[in-house]
C-alpha cells in the first residue's frame, strides 16, 4: 500500500513538473478516474470475465500437463536426457512464434488461444516441479524406500508433498507465463462479441491512449497482486505446517 502511495506521489510530482506533455505522461488523477470509469462499464466486466476464464482454463490445463511432464522427466533418466533441456527451450520461445501452429491446428478458436497459453506456462510449471523434486532431501527418500514406498506410491505420498513448496513457487511463475502468453494470445483472433483484457490493452496502445493504457495496466497489476495473495496464503499455510516460518 505504502509503495503504491509513493509511486503515485512521485508520478504526480513528475506530472506537475510538466516534464512531458499529458498525452505522453498523463495525470495520475485522470488515470485513476479512468480506472473508476472502466470498472463501471459492463463491457469491462465481460472482458475481464472472458480473460479470466481463458486464464483459468489455460492455466489449469498447463498445470496438468506441466505436472505430468515434470513428474515423468524427474523420474526417468532417459526422459530427462531426452527432453529435459527441451522444456527450458520451449519456455524461452516467444508466444507469437506459436501463432501459426495454433491457427494451423485449432483454427481461429478459443482452443488456439489456450494452446498459446499452455505452451507458455506448462514448461515453467514442469521446470518448477522438476527442480522441486531434485531438491527433496535424500534422507526422506531413503526413509520412504525403507518403508516400502516405490514408483507411483513414492511420488504420491513422498516426493510430491516434499516438493510442494518449490512446486508452489513454480506454479506462481507458471501463472505469470500463462497470463503474459494470454495477453499476446488474445490478439490472435479478436472475437468481436467477446472483448478481452489483452485486446483492450493492445488497442489502448494502438490508439496511443496513454491514460487508458495506464488504467488497464493498473488493473492488470491489481489482478496479479490478487493472484499472488492467493498463492502466498497457500504457501504460507504449507510452510507453517512444516515449521518453515521464521520465529522472528
Amino acid at each position: 500500500m505504502l509503495a503504491i502511495l509513493i509511486v503515485l506521489a512521485t508520478w504526480q510530482g513528475i506530472y506537475l513538473s510538466g516534464w512531458r506533455p499529458p498525452y505522453v505522461l498523463p495525470d495520475p488523477g485522470v488515470v485513476i478516474q479512468r480506472v473508476g470509469e472502466m470498472l463501471t462499464t459492463a463491457k469491462f466486466w465481460t472482458a475481464l470475465g472472458t480473460t479470466l476464464l481463458r486464464a483459468a482454463a489455460g492455466f489449469a490445463i498447463a498445470v496438468t500437463i506441466g505436472t505430468v511432464i515434470g513428474l515423468l522427466v524427474s523420474r526417468s533418466r532417459i526422459l530427462r536426457a531426452a527432453i529435459g533441456s527441451l522444456i527450458t527451450g520451449l519456455q524461452t520461445m516467444p508466444s507469437i512464434a506459436w501463432f501459426p501452429f495454433a491457427i494451423l491446428i485449432f483454427g481461429l478458436s478459443e482452443q488456439a488461444i489456450l494452446f498459446v497459453v499452455i505452451l507458455g506456462a506448462a514448461p515453467s510449471i514442469a521446470n518448477g516441479i522438476i527442480s522441486g523434486i531434485d531438491d527433496v532431501p535424500t534422507a526422506l527418500l531413503r526413509t520412504a524406500t525403507a518403508l516400502g514406498a516405490r514408483g507411483f506410491v513414492m511420488y504420491r505420498y513422498i516426493v510430491v508433498p516434499a516438493a510442494l513448496p518449490a512446486y508452489l513457487s513454480g506454479l506462481k511463475q507458471g501463472w505469470a507465463f500463462a497470463w503474459r502468453s494470454l495477453m499476446a494470445g488474445e490478439l490472435l483472433v479478436i472475437i468481436a462479441s467477446r472483448p478481452s483484457l489483452g485486446v483492450e490493452l493492445q488497442f489502448y496502445r494502438e490508439f496511443a491512449d496513454t491514460a487508458g493504457l495506464m488504467a488497464i495496466m493498473i488493473i492488470i497489476l491489481a489482478l496479479g497482486m490478487l493472484v499472488d495473495g492467493g498463492f502466498n496464503s497457500i504457501s504460507k499455510r504449507v510452510r507453517r505446517k512444516r515449521g518453515l516460518t521464521l520465529a522472528a
Binding site: A47, E200, F203
Partner: protein, 314 residues
C-alpha cells in the same frame, strides 16, 4: 453455395467498407443461406496464417501481406478479387522542416521495415537524391516503428517525422503539431494507390465463385453507402470500432482522416506491381512473380450486373 464463408478484416480505418458492410448486414443480404463468419485480426501475419491454414476464406488486407502470401505459397494460396481503399498516407514532419533538403540528417519513422509506407518513403527519398539504407544509415535515418510508438516518439521529440497511414497521419498533425510534407497521393498517377484489397483463398474461389461474388456485392453496397451518406457511414464505422476494440476514433480526427482515404472497388493492380518493384529496388523484397495474383472475374461480373464499367485486368 457453402454452409458458410469466413471473412477476416482489421478494425482499421482503411478497412472501413468491411466494418460497415458487416455492421449493416450488406454481406448477409447477398449471401442467402450461406452463413457469414467474421474474424478480426490486428496484424497481417496472423491473417495470412489463418488463410493459409484454411481458418478463413476471405480477408481484407494490405498489399504487403498480399504479396508475401502469394509469393510464399508459390502463387497457390490466394487471389486478389477487389480493391478496398487508396491513399491515406503521408510524410508528417515537425514544424521547421519545410523542404526536402532540410531532411538531411533527420530521423524518420515508418510503420514497418519493408511495408508500403516504408517502401514509399525510401523510394521517394531516393528520387529526391537522399540516401537511406535499410540499416538506418545514410542522409536520412529510417527507424521502423509501430504507429503508436511513432506517435509517442514524435510527441516527445525523438523523431523528426514519420510516413504513416491514417488515422495516425491526422493524429501526428493534430496531437503532435506536425505538418504534412508529402501526401503520398501526389506521387502516384491519378493520385490513387492501393492500401487495402480483398483476397480470397484460391481453393475457395475455385469451389464457390458465387459466394465470392455475393461478398463482393455486399462490398459494393457498402461503398455505395459510404459515398452516399458519409456522415452516417462514419458513425456506423466508429460504433463498430468501439464494439471490436473498445476504442473509437476521435470524431474530429475521423472526419479529417476520412477525407484523406478513398474507398474503391478497383484493386489498382498497377500500383501493387509498382509498389513491389519499388520494394525490390530498395532491396526489401526479392524478385517475385506476381502473374496470376488477380482474379477479377467475379468483380467484373458483379459490376456488369450493376451496369458499371469493368475494371482492367493486369
Amino acid at each position: 453455395g457453402p454452409d458458410s464463408v469466413r471473412l477476416g478484416y482489421f478494425p482499421n480505418l482503411t478497412h472501413a467498407p468491411a466494418l460497415i458492410a458487416d455492421a449493416k448486414g450488406f454481406y448477409a443480404e447477398h449471401l442467402g443461406a450461406t452463413n457469414l463468419e467474421v474474424s478480426t485480426f490486428n496484424a497481417g501475419p496472423s491473417t495470412i496464417e489463418a488463410l493459409f491454414s484454411g481458418a478463413i476464406d476471405m480477408a481484407v488486407i494490405g498489399p504487403n501481406p498480399t504479396i508475401n502470401g502469394y509469393a510464399q505459397s508459390g502463387g497457390e494460396a490466394l487471389r486478389v478479387v477487389a480493391g478496398v481503399a487508396s491513399g491515406g498516407a503521408a510524410l508528417v514532419v515537425r514544424p521547421g522542416i519545410e523542404s526536402v533538403s532540410e531532411l538531411k540528417g533527420s530521423t524518420l519513422a515508418t510503420p514497418q521495415l519493408g511495408n508500403t509506407q516504408d517502401v514509399a518513403l525510401r523510394t521517394w527519398l531516393a528520387g529526391e537524391g537522399l540516401s537511406a539504407d535499410t540499416e538506418g544509415g545514410g542522409d536520412v535515418s529510417i527507424m521502423p516503428q509501430e504507429n503508436a510508438a511513432a506517435l509517442q516518439a514524435f510527441n516527445s521529440g525523438q523523431i523528426d517525422g514519420a510516413w504513416v497511414p491514417e488515422p495516425w497521419l491526422t493524429r501526428l498533425v493534430e496531437e503532435g503539431g506536425g505538418q504534412v510534407l508529402v501526401d503520398e497521393r501526389e506521387l502516384w498517377p491519378n493520385g490513387a494507390f492501393i492500401v487495402a484489397n480483398v483476397i480470397v483463398r484460391a481453393e475457395f474461389l475455385e469451389d464457390h465463385p458465387d459466394t465470392v461474388e455475393a461478398v463482393i456485392e455486399g462490398h459494393l453496397d457498402s461503398l455505395d453507402f459510404i459515398a452516399k451518406s458519409p456522415d452516417e457511414a462514419r458513425s456506423v464505422f466508429n460504433t463498430k470500432m468501439d464494439a471490436i476494440t473498445g476504442q473509437s476514433i476521435n470524431d474530429e480526427y475521423l472526419v479529417e482522416a476520412w477525407e484523406n482515404v478513398d474507398f474503391l472497388y478497383d484493386p489498382l493492380p498497377d500500383t501493387l506491381f509498382t509498389g513491389a518493384e519499388h520494394a525490390v529496388a530498395v532491396g526489401l523484397l526479392n524478385e517475385v512473380d506476381l502473374d496470376g495474383i488477380y482474379d477479377l472475374g467475379p468483380l467484373n461480373r458483379v459490376l456488369e450486373s450493376r451496369n458499371l464499367e469493368p475494371v482492367a485486368s493486369p
